[in-house]
Amino acid sequence: MLHPDPRAYRVALVADAIVNEGAAGYDAVALLDDAAFGVVVLPPSDFTVSTIGSIVEYVIDDLVDYRNKGYAIVVVGSTRLPQFGVWSDHVDAETTHRGIDPFDRFDVDGTTEADLVAFLSAAVPSAVRT
């Protein structure tokens, strides 16, 4: 390699309300950062966005590509939010349509920071490029 590449091969699809409104009750974004996860955020799940199907489709394209290359992929949302906070109807439709396993999910509802840290720690990428 010409230059070092410090990526951690970890990606989390995170509910907008968790990123922007503190919906977890704790700073989940800081914990994701500490655990070296990159964050993917969709538009707020209470918006009316007619193009959301296409937006989600591209996001799932990315997440599937990551997973196929050995990156660890997780979803962090809440059952208290519409669509788990991540447009889950569209996400689930995409994974079902493609016949692929759903992504591991963490529901922040009723959890503590330690619970999220433990969940993130268990998400280990299978392949790290050197």
Binding site: V11, D27, V29, P43, V49, T51, D62
Partner: protein
């Protein structure tokens, strides 16, 4: 996290009390989308989330058109190799997708900004990257990639896509991370200070009709 990233600013978990939103280049909060050797940090770029929150901005994320076009293991490309009709059509689809949430934030009274990735062939706002000698059999040496003034292809198409739908192009800037001589200790503080100054200036506002914007350009 680096020492540089520990911004001495209050960082609220929630920004619901303000009406500001920043549409950021995808990789600013997910460095995994970068082409190999251009990631600058393990996950998010240190300090970006903290700066946005400190200035009261919600974080919204633009898609990475390079990732969606050629995947995470794509080759390096300069602006010349991305400046092709089919890639622009791909960017136009993404611009059409993103026009609606951007318009909705305008409708809800938000100040809107765009934060790009300066130096990027796709996501640069103030600076993009050219590599006139790249093409054919992959081969690259340091110094091939030149950062020049101008927008990346994706930002050009996003700006055009919004304007075609009568949605104002928001106030916009970028973080100049895409340079081959990047040195975090030297360069990141300047980037974050630059971001601070930009964010303090607020965003664009607009009154838009309630009609769906996705069909407005057709």
């Amino acid at each position: 996290m680096s020492e540089v990233a520990a911004a001495p600013v209050p960082v609220p978990v929630s920004v619901t009390s303000t009406k500001r939103v920043a549409f950021v280049a995808h990789c600013l909060i997910n460095q995994n989308a970068k082409v190999q050797e251009f990631a600058r940090s393990p996950g998010a770029v240190p300090g970006v989330t903290e700066r946005l929150r400190a200035h009261g901005y919600r974080i919204q994320q633009l898609p990475c058109p390079e990732m969606a076009f050629a995947g995470v293991d794509r080759w390096w490309q300069g602006r010349e190799l991305y400046d092709k009709a089919n890639y622009r059509r791909h960017c136009q689809i993404m611009a059409a997708n993103m026009a609606e949430p951007i318009a909705e934030f305008y409708r809800r009274g938000y100040e809107v900004v765009v934060i790009g990735l300066d130096g990027s062939p796709s996501s640069g706002v103030r600076y993009t990257g050219k590599a006139k000698n790249w093409g054919g059999r992959p081969h690259a040496v340091d110094g091939d990639y030149e950062v020049v003034e101008g927008m990346g292809v994706w930002m050009e198409e996003l700006k055009l896509g919004l304007e075609q739908r009568d949605i104002p192009w928001p106030r916009a800037s970028g973080l100049l991370l895409d340079r081959t001589d990047w040195d975090e200790a030297r360069d990141l503080p300047a980037c974050l200070n630059d971001l601070d100054e930009f964010l303090a200036g607020g965003g664009s506002t607009a009154e838009l009709p309630t009609q769906a914007v996705s069909d407005a350009a057709s």
